[in-house]
Every structure is written in C-alpha cells, then in structure tokens.
Symmetry: D3
Amino acid sequence: MLHNLLSKLDKTISINRVSAHCDVPCGIYDPMVAQIAALTVIREVDQLTELHNKDELSLNDKANFSRMVTVKEEHCNKVKEEIRIIWGDFIKQPQLDAYPQLHTLVHEIMLAGSVAKQHVDKDAALKLLDKVNEFAEIFWAIKGVKTYRANAPYAPAAEVVYPDLKA
Amino acid sequence: MLHNLLSKLDKTISINRVSAHCDVPCGIYDPMVAQIAALTVIREVDQLTELHNKDELSLNDKANFSRMVTVKEEHCNKVKEEIRIIWGDFIKQPQLDAYPQLHTLVHEIMLAGSVAKQHVDKDAALKLLDKVNEFAEIFWAIKGVKTYRANAPYAPAAEVVYPDLKA
Amino acid sequence: MLHNLLSKLDKTISINRVSAHCDVPCGIYDPMVAQIAALTVIREVDQLTELHNKDELSLNDKANFSRMVTVKEEHCNKVKEEIRIIWGDFIKQPQLDAYPQLHTLVHEIMLAGSVAKQHVDKDAALKLLDKVNEFAEIFWAIKGVKTYRANAPYAPAAEVVYPDLKA
Amino acid sequence: MLHNLLSKLDKTISINRVSAHCDVPCGIYDPMVAQIAALTVIREVDQLTELHNKDELSLNDKANFSRMVTVKEEHCNKVKEEIRIIWGDFIKQPQLDAYPQLHTLVHEIMLAGSVAKQHVDKDAALKLLDKVNEFAEIFWAIKGVKTYRANAPYAPAAEVVYPDLKA
Amino acid sequence: MLHNLLSKLDKTISINRVSAHCDVPCGIYDPMVAQIAALTVIREVDQLTELHNKDELSLNDKANFSRMVTVKEEHCNKVKEEIRIIWGDFIKQPQLDAYPQLHTLVHEIMLAGSVAKQHVDKDAALKLLDKVNEFAEIFWAIKGVKTYRANAPYAPAAEVVYPDLKA
Amino acid sequence: MLHNLLSKLDKTISINRVSAHCDVPCGIYDPMVAQIAALTVIREVDQLTELHNKDELSLNDKANFSRMVTVKEEHCNKVKEEIRIIWGDFIKQPQLDAYPQLHTLVHEIMLAGSVAKQHVDKDAALKLLDKVNEFAEIFWAIKGVKTYRANAPYAPAAEVVYPDLKA
C-alpha cells in the first residue's frame, strides 16, 4: 500500500494545485470521525457478543442489548454519512483521475456499513474499518500528508490509519 | 431515454431475480423523497431571488431570507442523503452491471447538491433535480416499473419523473 | 369516494382562488412522504411478525428485532409529523369549509399512528395507511389534481393514492 | 375561564376514570415544554427588533440576527410539535366530548406558530403563547389540577399558566 | 434545604446585579425541561420493570420493551444536555462564588444520568431526579425566585421542585 | 506542559487500574471529534471575516454568510456536547483526584463555546481550541498515551494536540 501511495505522489501534487484554486467556501474534512465511528461499531459487536454468550440475561442485560444495537446502528450510519460527505464534497475530477478506484471504494464502504448494521459480526465490523482506513490513506495522500498505522489507544484497539504530523 | 430503458428490460428482469434472493432485511426505497427535496431547493431559489430583487428589505424580509437559506441547505442535504441511502443500500453488483453509469451519476448528484448549497442559482437547482430524475428513471427501470414525466402539481412546477402505476 | 370528491369540485375551485392570494412564503407540501412512511410501518410489522414466528432467534435476529422496532417507531412519528405540517401550515379556513372532516381525520391519523407504535399489528398499520390515503385524496382534490389508487411498486405493495399527472 | 373550567369538573372526573383504563404504555405529557418554547419565541422577537432598531449592524450583530432567526424558528416548531404530541397521543374521545373546542384550538396553535415563524412580530408571538396557555388550562383541567397565571420569572416575563400544586 | 437557601439570599441579590449587566444575547433557561425528562426516566423504569415481571412476553411486549429502553435513553441524554446548557451558558463566576458546589453537583448529575442509562433501576432514576431538583433549587435561588416541592401531577408522581410564582 | 504530564504518570497508572474494573458498558471516547469541531469554528470565523471585508455582498455572499453562521453555531455546540460526554461519562473520582482542574477547565470550555457562538472573533475561536487541546492533553495522559502538537493538515492549520501512537 505504501509503495502504491508513493508512486502516486506526482499526481497528488498536481491535484493540490487544482484544489488550491477552489473558489467556493470549503468546510473541514477529516476521515478520523468516520474511523472513530467504525471503531465504535467493532466495540459494540464485542459487547453484544459478550452478552449473547451469557447463560441468562438480567433485566439490565436485556436493556443494554437493545441500547448497544442502537449505538451500533447509529455509528454505522455515521461512517456512511461522513464518508459520503468527503466523497461528495471534496472529491472532484482531479482526485478521481489520480485515484480511479474511489467510486468503487466508497460504494464498498456503503455496502460494508449495511452488512455491519444487519449483523452482529466481528468480521463485518473489521471489514468496515478496513475500507474506511483505505479511504483515509487515499485522502491523506491527496492532501500530501504522510500516514502511519497504529492500534487505537482504546478498546477495541484495532488498527487505524493516522496522519503523521510530527515534525 | 425511454428507448434506452426499454432496451435494458432483459437485464432488469435478471436483476430482479437476483435481488429476490436477498436474504437480509430490506427497507423501502423511493426516490420521490429526494425529488420533492430537489423541488424545494428550486422553490427556495425562486423565493430568495424574489427577495433579492426588492428595493429594500423589511425586518420580515431579512429574517425570511435567513430562513429560506436554511430550508435550501437542509433540502440539498436531504437530496444527497436520500440518494446515498438508495445507492449505498439497494444498488449492488447486478444493478451496477446493468447501469455502469450509476457511480458517476450519484457522484454528480453529490457535486450538484454542493453547488446548489453554495449558490442561489436557478440553473444549479434545476441541474440537481435533473440528475435526481435521471437516477429515479434508472431506479424504476431496475424495479421493472414504467415511468412518465410531468410537471409537479405545485410551484415550482418543474418536470419530475413519476412511476406509472395506473392499471 | 371518487364520487364524493367530484361533488366537491366547485368548492375546490374557490379554495384555489383564495390560496392564490396567500402572501406569505410557502414551502412544498406533498403527502407522498407520509404515505411512504406508512408503507414502511407495514413493512416492519411484516418483518417483525416473520421473526416472531421463528422457533428460535439467532443473535442477528434479536438485534434485527430491536432495529425493526426502531424503524417502525421512527416512521410512525414521521407520518404524524408530515401530516401535522400539511394540516398546520397549508390547511386554512377555506379548506376547512370545503372539507369539514379534516380536523377529525387528522386526529384519527395521530391516534392510528400511536396504536401502530404501541403494537406490532398488521391491521393497525394498514389502518394508518388507509387514513393517510384519505388525507392525500382530500389534499389533491384541494389542489385540483386527480388521483388514482394503485399498489405500491415494492413490498408491502399496499394500495396507495397517487396524483394522476400523466397528460 | 376559571368559572368555565369549574363547570366542567364533573365531565373531567369521568374522563379520568376512562383514561385510568388506558391499557397501553403512556409517556409523560406536560404543556410546560411548549410554553417555555413560546416564551423563547417572544424573547427572540424582542431581541431581533432591538437589533433592527440599531443604526448600523456590526459583524457580530449581523451574525446574531441570523442566529436569532434560527432560534425563533426552532422554538416555533417545538411549540407545534409538543402540542401535536399531547393532542395526538393523550387527547381521545372522552376529552373531546368534554372540550369540543380542542381540534380548533390546536389548529389555531399550528397557524399561530406559522405566522410567528414567518414574521418578527410581537403580537404574533404573544398570540402563540396565549393559545398555548389556553391549551394548558384545558390540559390541567382534564387532569383535575388547578392552575394559576403568573408572569414567567425571566424575560420576556409574559403571563404563563402554571399548575397549582402547592398543598 | 430551605434554610440553606434563605441564608444565601444576600449573595443572590448581588449575583442578579451582575448578571443584569450581561451584554450578550441570552436565551431562556428553565430547569423544568430537565425535571420532566428525569420524571420520564423514572416512568420508563417502572414500565420496564412491570414488563420484566410478566411470566411471558407477547410480541407487543417485546417490541415495547425495546421502545421503552429507547425512551429512557433519550430522556437521560436530555437531562444531561439541558443541565449542561444551563451550567455552561448561564452559570458564570458570580454564581460559582455563591454556590461553589455547582461544578460537583452538575458532574454528579452527569454520572447519575449515565448510571440511569446503564441500568433499569428505580433508585438510580430517583437519584437522577433528586440531583436535578437540587440544581433547580439553586437555579431559582439565583433568580431570586422562591420554590416549593410537590408531587408531579402525573405518574410517577415523584417529588419535583417548582417555582412559587403565585402572588 | 509535557513535564507536568510526566510528573503525573504515577497517578495515571493507578487511574487505569481503577477504570479497568469498570463494570458497565463503555463507549469510545476521543477528544479529536471536539478538536475538529473547534477547528471548524476558526475556519468559519475566517470566512465570515473575509466576507465582511468585501465592499459589497452578492446574493450568494449574503446566503453564504447565513450558512457560515449556522455551521459555526453547530460546531460550537458540537464542541460543548462532545466534551460534556467525555467529562460526564468517562471522568470519575480517580481522574478528578489526579486532575483537580478538570471541572474548571470543562466549564471554561463551555463558556468559551458560548463566546465563540455569540461573536465572529478569531481570538474567541482560538481560545476555544486552546482549551479543548488542554483537555485532550489531560485525556491522553489519563490514558497513558503520549501526545504531540502539530498544525492541523488543512486550513486554518491551527495547532492541535495529537496522540503519539507511532511505534
């Protein structure tokens, strides 16, 4: 992946020149919000599975089952919404020329988000984060910002793409 | 366009067969909600332009200007959100095989929605509706439902794609 | 019902003349959003009942049960909210004179929406759609737009009132 | 008004007996939330008018004008929504028999809310609160709770109907 | 508690003098919205417990269990949000000088809200209301408004702090 | 600041031991969402000021002014909400013992958020980010995670505290 990104550096530079000419008000786009939401989906799957493995559910357990399903649902939607915004607002023709896989990748994130909503499934949740990380890597490459991967500093401690901003 | 749709009928039938095997809970998808939102964007552009053409704005006018901007913003977002849901939940590989333009079309709707948010511009608003209508036509063709175009029965009375369900 | 509507045509024409003089900013009102929400309520009742009839629920089934209850709840609220907006913004004295049943009908929609929220009951969900269709028929009659009834082109395929806009 | 309420006491008692048989889950209904929202509408009208009377608006003033319009809008919607919920969930046939004016009153609140949204007008805002107070008085009478009127203990200090619960 | 409030009267008066000089737009703050939300949390705990004590849950019961958990969750969040707004917007240094316990009390409300979310527990719900009442008492003392305690005029009829506004 | 954090390392370790015993479901807390929102507030102030400095505002400019005020407002609220959640859910007695300044700091964030809402003022927006960064530094110290400061890799490129996760 890193090699792949380096080989696109030239394209990236020309992209930045184009987007610098952007003449309309731009908000702030950061894939980290979607990545945190994807981590939350994994966390809820872990907790739902833990509850499911208990012999008997107390009243609190039953209520918390319902709450965790809602939290998982909301964060799947948040992933889809945040990625849609970056893709639909920030990604324009020059970025698509440099990264022709973007449409397919974003659509895969949408489908992975649906699967993660409809199942309590660790693999589905991990796949969602994986796709979002892939999107984040492209996003930061477009920005000309290096990235690294590290485990998130809280449960579920899954691997996340971070911008490498340390001087 | 109609000819184009008819020529895709065979593909559509096979698509339906595939989606009938869909084994996960499905919601209801209907592009009409996005179309009504796009009509509202046009309506607000008309009203904002009307206010802008007045010689002097009263207190009420100034407050309504701000309200109309908010309504326009919310409905641009609604268009983008509703189309993202149908594209990201309902459109899968068989539909993409039959309509390979779908990714590009949906991305164009996103960009048109951004332009319509950032401008008070009739052409931008009409283009947004136009793209959403195009999406609706494909959606109904996938469903095997005929469509027709008619002016919406309320201001701004722009042309909208409707499903043709009358026996 | 159709005969009933035709006999009100004269009143309708005078209503339109009055509302044409409306001097305040008007949004777009369309009962289709409420009708789609009512269809979704029926759909969720069908799916919840299907789950309930299974011998044993898997982890996914239990989580989806909770999700479907939430979707049903949200769409009952959406029906009530959308109808409240049309009734509370668009329906004024001339329309009430022509359709004196409107207050009672709208209140019946509210109560039917509450019953549909509190029960997983096909009849309650169908009654909600039925009342919303009745409201839509009056709405379009006020607008001077003909309507027809057809089954929705997606599950649950229940009968819906559509505006008849084909030239 | 108080005499009017007293004369309805018998009816009220029978209403309570009926609603005690209510066999479905009931939430908590309290018109105070709508009354506080109506007070906020008045407050925003006062502040918008104050800004409007300044000779020149600073950057902050212009931004705050926009913010106040939004706050006014949201609280008009909140009034309408809260009253719709009480009317549509809690008010059933026995209450309508005792207070046949309820449908008309609730519809008047909806229209008053629309007028208050579309104008920066103290009289329109006061009328909205007035109608909501009238609704609150009926609500508490249905509950068999005495009420009193007092000025709200914060700006705009308009008259509000409070339940009289002090032993 | 009342004695405690009386002893703070002098401080309160000086607070009012300070806040009267407040030069920025102020909204309306009223702890009653948080108190009603806390009452709703108690109500949902009662209803969830009632369901839990049934020998067998019907389809409706199971769906309503999920709905009640959601209502409880939303109203816990509402309590926390409403108190955060008053504390974060209205409470400034003079009020903190007069009531140095405010930070700790508000934080206790946050923690009590979390406990009430994570459990179906009458004591936890009552403790949440208790803390919110304590906050309301301080709030009204700051405003120079007397208060009294009475049972809410609807289930769960728990004790609530009301402003005493009757002349 | 770094020295200050290091000196608290012992306390932090004991905090972690305590929170490891936490027996209730925990979500994911990450101050980055609040930091991104604070950056957005700064960005909107820059853009609003730029518009304000133009000689004349076009129709688009006027509409965008209103939109930017709304974006600023929403992101001020988001900062306050996100920090309230971490403080109110995650910060308990052991963390308060280690960082007794937390209540005051969180309250300062709330007040800074209000000032940033009520003004279009670069200093106010920068102060909000500054306080949120301070909170983030304590949060990561509690987690035992090192941090570094770097300029955000997008406009307004203000300094942000990042977790230092690179191996």
